[in-house]
């Protein structure tokens, strides 16, 4: 018998912006368009800095981007 180990993954999106874009196809939005743009910027910078493609930024972080 083989055990299939399913890692705890998130099919809805690896990042806040991916989840936001998926959510807008389903129920609606959770951040404004401007905040989404800033979140994408933060995700890009975080990926460059720490090399991870997974993150979950909030509008608290987005509002600090000027």
């Amino acid at each position: 018998m083989a055990n299939i180990i399913i890692p705890k993954s998130n099919r809805f999106g690896k990042t806040r912006s991916e989840q936001e874009e998926n959510m807008r196809k389903e129920w609606g939005q959770t951040v404004t368009d401007e905040q989404l743009d800033k979140i994408k910027f933060l995700e890009k910078r975080a990926k460059e800095k720490v090399g991870s493609s997974k993150s979950f930024f909030t509008p608290v972080d987005a509002d600090k981007v000027k």
């Binding site: 129920w27 975080a46 993150s55 930024f57």
Partner: protein, 329 residues
């Protein structure tokens, strides 16, 4: 790192690495009070849980719970609000093991937190949401007290960030540590933050919809008389009286061993009839900056003032009433 001395980022600058609430290993959970079913696994919008608590119970640390608002007139409603969305009538608890949890309301558009409502019960000392886990995060949610209860000044609350953990005694590792609320509305009930550190209320509204729902220790109570508190922050929030009368009691009450408490960019509506806009009780340290008070001749000091600073080292800087800069202490 930030390219500005005040910690702001800019396009082209580098953010401080990672997100404050990064949860890259998280599971997303979905709650739909209209179409959901608690027997579903809750891991996709078309397999949503029906109740918020079912999702909170299923979730583990670092997870994200998305809440879908009810349709107009659907779900539980009260007669006065038939033209508004229904609400999740639940008493919610986030257990200690479910730390780092995010609970996010989904909106049909814009930034109106009122669409996704969680209503507290009418039971004294029972809270709509009790958070026992560190680093809880909420966005776009309305926490509301059902308005028909009785005595003003009694402790009916909507959110309790509890620092006490189990029977082992007090701990600073409880629900008030690292909690954050963004674009949330707290209506007619109290939000209590017990001790702990680094909580944040950003761009939230605290509304006194009904005078009978006034809270004796404020709409927002930072209570450190049992557990010390450090570096709590309130920014860009609105403290609003009802449309018919000024509230009875304080908007914000801070007491006990509070260190480096910071409130900035907030707007306070009409002065409470039996309280003050803001009170530090005891040796509270920190600062109030860039706040506005919707009355004339607002003053601050240690007694008989509209803003009471307590006996600690607390500065009031750059705050205005309707006519002038209020005295800096």
């Amino acid at each position: 790192m930030s390219t500005f001395p005040d910690g702001l980022f800019q396009y082209g600058g580098e953010p401080v690495g990672g997100a404050r609430y990064s949860s890259p290993w998280a599971t997303s959970w979905f709650v739909d009070g209209t179409n959901g079913y608690d027997g579903f696994d809750g891991k996709a919008p078309d397999r949503s849980k029906k109740t918020v608590q079912a999702a909170l119970t299923a979730a583990s640390w670092g997870d994200v719970v998305y809440l879908r608002p009810f349709q107009m007139g659907a779900g539980a409603v009260w007669p006065a609000d038939l033209s508004e969305p229904g609400y999740y009538a639940e008493t919610l608890t986030v257990p200690y093991t479910t730390h780092w949890l995010s609970m996010i309301g989904v909106q049909p558009g814009a930034k109106d937190p009122s669409y996704c409502r969680i209503v507290a019960p009418e039971t004294i000392n029972t809270w709509g949401l009790t958070v026992n886990a560190p680093c809880f995060h909420a966005e776009n949610l309305t926490f509301k007290l059902y308005e028909s209860h009785a005595t003003p000044g009694t402790p009916y609350g909507v959110v309790n960030l509890a620092a006490t953990v189990g029977a082992a005694g007090y701990s600073t590792a409880g629900g008030s540590n690292g909690a954050s609320f963004y674009n949330c509305s707290f209506e007619s009930g109290q939000v209590k933050v017990r001790g702990g550190y680094h909580s944040l209320f950003s761009r939230c509204q605290f509304l006194n919809m009904y005078v009978t729902c006034d809270q004796g220790n404020g709409n927002l109570w930072f209570d450190a008389h049992e557990v010390p508190a450090f570096q709590h922050e309130v920014e860009n929030c609105l403290f609003e009286s009802s449309t018919v009368a000024a509230p009875t009691y304080h908007y914000v009450y801070v007491n006990g061993s509070q260190y480096t408490f910071w409130i900035h960019g907030c707007r306070f509506d009409r002065k409470p009839t039996s309280g003050v806009f803001y009170e530090n009780y005891g040796a509270v340290g920190g600062m109030m900056t860039d706040c506005f008070f919707n009355e004339d001749a607002v003053t601050c000091g240690t007694s008989s003032k509209e803003v009471l600073i307590g006996s600690g080292q607390f500065e009031v800087v750059g705050c205005y009433d309707r006519t002038s800069l209020i005295a800096t202490t």
